[in-house]
């Protein structure tokens, strides 16, 4: 009997690895920045290029940093959710316009709605590198002390918002 049981058990284990492996999203690479202070930046604002925003301006509040671009297709997917979130006033959303053209970005926001408290621009993707951005959209939850607590890679989904982002924001605000 063990003659068959051992190979069978080995096979089941292998299938288990395969099933789990297939279910994983290879694009979800854990960010080493979680639990670390958000990289500093001082960037021009999208709407008023003479003004800047620095990472320190938001100390003392919980905020979201959403990396987006007008050329990014899946940004459209998550955008209505962000607009809704901004309307609810639960947490301020800041936009980092990544490797984009100012006119395109402004037109895009006019067309789809502007959820951002302030939008800043990173035309060459340098702040993007500091934040470990490799696929827009990406969304960071940053706490009152300016520490990154969560990173959503890819579009924000209803599920991610309800099960991860909002509970975390509440906990951090509390």
């Amino acid at each position: 009997m063990t003659r068959f049981l051992i190979p069978l058990a080995a096979f089941v284990v292998l299938v288990g690895f395969l099933v789990v492996g297939l279910g994983l999203n290879p694009r979800q690479v854990p960010s080493p920045l979680i639990g670390k202070p958000a990289p500093e930046f001082q960037l021009q604002q999208l709407h008023q290029s003479e003004k800047t925003l620095t990472s320190k301006d938001n100390l003392g509040k919980v905020w979201l940093l959403n990396v987006w671009a007008s050329w990014c297709v899946s940004c459209r997917e998550e955008h209505p959710l962000l607009v809704q979130l901004a309307k609810s006033g639960i947490v301020p959303v800041y936009g980092l316009n990544y490797k984009d053209q100012r006119e395109d970005a402004l037109r895009w926001l006019k067309q789809f709605g502007d959820p951002y408290t302030v939008s800043i621009v990173d035309p060459e993707g340098r702040t993007g590198i500091d934040y470990g951005v490799y696929g827009v959209p990406e969304t960071y939850v940053i706490d009152k002390n300016g520490v990154i607590r969560y990173k959503q890679i890819g579009p924000v989904t209803v599920d991610a918002l309800q099960t991860k982002i909002l509970p975390l924001v509440k906990e951090l605000q509390g």
Partner: protein, 164 residues
């Protein structure tokens, strides 16, 4: 035949006349390469060790993704700023994690990655040895015991006697 010869000569000569034309158009695109070929070589050597996170089976050196382009620019700039390879790698790992390295460091979370194959190899070898030992035993073990052999011989003799 003559025409053919001419055509052949043209075909052979044509490529020779092309490089000057081509190199003009290439030179324009490859300005950063031309600026400092030594640094470029060092940049490519380092970026061959790095994974492009957008197209995960390509190196930063090989990928044409915009992301890889940006990282090559970053590496190039840091090299011109006299940063060592290790400093640049630390910079990237701090932002993108160990995944950016094609040769991840040995630590608790990568133990299985590094030693898993050897563990499997060892397990396979153990199973093989056990199997071979068992098989040898089975071959060495006589199929019939002494007593059974005698019995069989007796039966055979009996049979012979009957038929004779």
């Amino acid at each position: 035949m003559k025409k053919f010869g001419l055509l052949l000569a043209l075909m052979l000569l044509l490529p020779l006349s092309l490089p000057p034309l081509l190199s003009v158009s290439w030179a324009k695109e490859a300005v950063p390469v031309a600026e400092n070929p030594e640094l470029e070589e060092r940049m490519i050597a380092l970026s061959e060790e790095l994974r492009c996170l957008v197209c995960q089976n390509e190196t930063i050196a090989a990928s044409r993704a915009d992301f890889a382009n940006d990282l090559r620019r970053e590496i190039r700039e840091q090299m011109s700023a006299d940063k060592s390879d290790k400093e640049i790698i630390d910079f990237l790992v701090a932002r993108y994690g160990d995944f950016v390295l094609y040769r991840p460091p040995v630590k608790s979370s990568t133990m299985f990655l590094w030693f898993g194959p050897f563990i499997l190899l060892l397990a396979g070898a153990i199973v093989l040895v056990i199997y071979l030992k068992r098989r040898r035993k089975r071959i060495e073990e006589p199929i019939l015991s002494e007593q059974q052999l005698k019995q069989a011989e007796a039966l055979l003799k009996e049979g012979k006697g009957n038929s004779a």
